[in-house]
């Protein structure tokens, strides 16, 4: 509990900045929607006839002219990618930052087992991701109410659940990775989340690259699929949960045996 509280105290500022930035961007997008609704009718047609570009962003399945279609594309990209960045950056630093910041000799010479320290840090990481997603969800809902839309709750809940799972998985994978690192690896975290994002784009473009969807958590957070199927792809999510559990477990085992230099 001490480690958890300590982590939260150290990172609440960065969490607040990320959450507010993402939520604010989403609010601005939603507030722009009424003005764009009329124009969107035409835009949807253009967007739906741009071949692989259309497919990459799932715009062949989404209707830009409806609120939820617009929300799925805009907020899907802002929250999906933005949150994944936050989850990756926070996760990849979680265990390695003590050595990178030369605080490991202080923290790890207290009578707390490495497993408990890792558990406290993991809890803090997942809590931060959850808080970011909750704030973003609140921003989306409130701004939707502001522009007087009748909110399609089922769709919104499905979308945000998928984004949350995407972020939790990204955080868990990076947490596992941070157990083997000794330096801060911001670039690696950013790169990894971008890579996941691009793998999903590729998987959308051609059937041939479809198998790539098994290697990126973005595949089950695809707004177009969720809104057209009105369900989440449970097999992909299960795969993601398994990968997350494996990464976390490996992280714990490695950290317990790690030489602290």
């Amino acid at each position: 509990m001490t480690v958890f509280k300590h982590e939260m105290r150290l990172s609440w500022k960065s969490l607040l900045i990320w959450s507010l930035s993402i939520a604010a961007l989403m609010v601005v997008c939603v507030l722009l929607f009424p003005e764009m609704r009329g124009e969107m009718e035409g835009v949807s047609e253009i967007f739906s006839s741009m071949g692989s570009f259309t497919a990459a962003f799932g715009m062949d399945k989404l209707n830009f002219g409806t609120f939820i279609g617009f929300y799925g594309i805009e907020c899907g990209n802002i929250l999906g990618l933005g949150g994944a960045f936050f989850a990756a950056l926070t996760g990849i630093a979680m265990l390695s930052k003590e050595e990178a910041g030369h605080t490991a000799e202080f923290l790890l010479t207290h009578p707390v087992s490495r497993r408990r320290i890792a558990a406290g840090k993991l809890t803090a990481l997942l809590t931060q991701v959850l808080l970011l997603d909750l704030l973003a969800f609140a921003g989306g809902i409130l701004s939707g109410l502001c522009i007087g839309e009748a909110l399609p709750w089922k769709e919104l809940l499905l979308l945000h659940t998928a984004y949350l799972l995407l972020h939790l998985e990204t955080a868990a994978l990076c947490f596992g990775l941070s157990a083997v690192l000794r330096r801060s690896a911001i670039g690696l975290g950013m790169g990894l989340s971008l890579l996941f994002y691009c793998l999903n784009l590729l998987a959308n473009i051609t059937e041939k690259a479809g198998w790539l969807k098994y290697f990126t958590p973005f595949s089950y957070a695809e707004s177009a699929d969720i809104l057209s199927e009105l369900t989440l792809d449970l097999s992909l999510i299960l795969l993601g949960l398994l990968a997350s559990a494996a990464a976390v477990l490996a992280g714990f085992l490695i950290y317990d045996r790690k030489d602290i230099l």
Binding site: T2, V3, H6, R9, L10, G101, H102, T103, A104, E105, F106, L107, L108, T109, H110, P111, V112, S113, R114, R116, D256, R257, D259, I260, L261
Partner: protein
């Protein structure tokens, strides 16, 4: 009872030298100095003691119990450690760091922390990043002392502390030792080991080259001879470390006195002093020779 027991400890990692088959025993209640130049393996040894590093081979025991993944957290309850680098999480205030350390130990040591901060003149309301090195060192000291452990381990504790604070620090340690605790400190400053420690080990290039009571380490048949009024040292076997003086010459001499006095009698001396070399000189001697074998105390 041994507070610390190291048997055949070898730790090799990466390009760093690490340590090789180290044996070291520190009795309960001892004030033990661990001397060696930078990079000799002092910190590696200490990190193995604390369970931060896993030995490549050999065994490390604290209070008679082996230090391993399972036992280290429980053993650290009885240890107060001051790292060589006094670095803390930035953004915190001194009182928050002290509180964090106490919380991680699950003990309330507010009263002790208050007393220590007062003695060391440490302002608890300052932010960590606003502190000088010396003041961050003080935070480290309070963290190591506030829970009154049985064993204190310090890695180069005095660097960055002004002389007054060094004195306050050693006074504190002596009080703790008098109350029954064991003190283990590493240093490359010999005078402080000579002044405060009862036992010492010398480490060089990853190996312990001497381990004995400080008096024994300092006791040697060698003498520092300073001649004034002549510029050349006599040509005798057993003379080494010849240094020029403004008005003469000085050297270390180990050997019989008769040949020396015979040589000196023939010289036109203005003045002459013969003293015991201090530990510093003995220490340099250990380092100057190409790796003397362990236990080679005959100087």
């Amino acid at each position: 009872m041994h507070a610390i027991e190291i048997r055949g400890l070898t730790k090799a990692y990466g390009k760093a030298r690490g340590v090789q088959s180290i044996d070291l025993t520190v009795e309960s209640g001892a004030f033990f100095g661990f001397i060696g130049p930078n990079g000799a393996g002092k910190s590696t040894t200490i990190r193995c003691l604390l369970g931060l590093l896993e030995p490549t081979s050999g065994e490390v025991r604290l209070f008679g119990q082996p230090v391993d993944r399972r036992s280290r957290a429980a053993l650290l309850r009885r240890v107060g450690f001051m790292p060589g680098e006094a670095v803390f999480h930035s953004g915190l205030r001194v009182r928050e760091v002290l509180q964090l350390s106490a919380n991680l130990r699950g003990v309330d040591c507010t009263a002790e922390a208050d007393a220590l901060c007062q003695r060391l003149q440490l302002d608890r309301n300052k932010k960590i990043e606003a502190l000088s090195l010396g003041n961050r060192k003080k935070v480290s000291i309070v963290c190591a002392l506030q829970h009154r452990p049985d064993l204190y381990i310090f890695d180069e504790p005095t660097s960055g502390l002004d002389p007054l604070m060094q004195r306050a620090f050693f006074e504190l340690l002596q009080e703790r030792q008098a109350a029954g605790a064991t003190v283990f400190l590493s240093s490359h400053v010999l005078s402080e080991i000579q002044r405060h420690c009862t036992q010492a080990a010398i480490i060089r290039e990853g190996r312990i080259i001497a381990c004995a009571p400080v008096e024994t380490l300092a006791r040697t048949s060698a003498r520092r001879v300073s001649l004034h009024g002549v510029s050349q040292a006599p040509d005798l076997p057993g003379i080494r470390d010849i240094r020029p003086l403004p008005d003469g010459v000085s050297f270390l001499y180990s050997g019989g006195l008769r040949p020396l006095t015979a040589e000196l009698a023939a010289l036109e001396l203005a003045d002459l002093t013969i003293t015991e070399p201090d530990l510093e000189e003995i220490f340099l001697h250990y380092y100057a020779d190409p790796a003397p074998t362990k236990g080679d105390l005959a100087l």
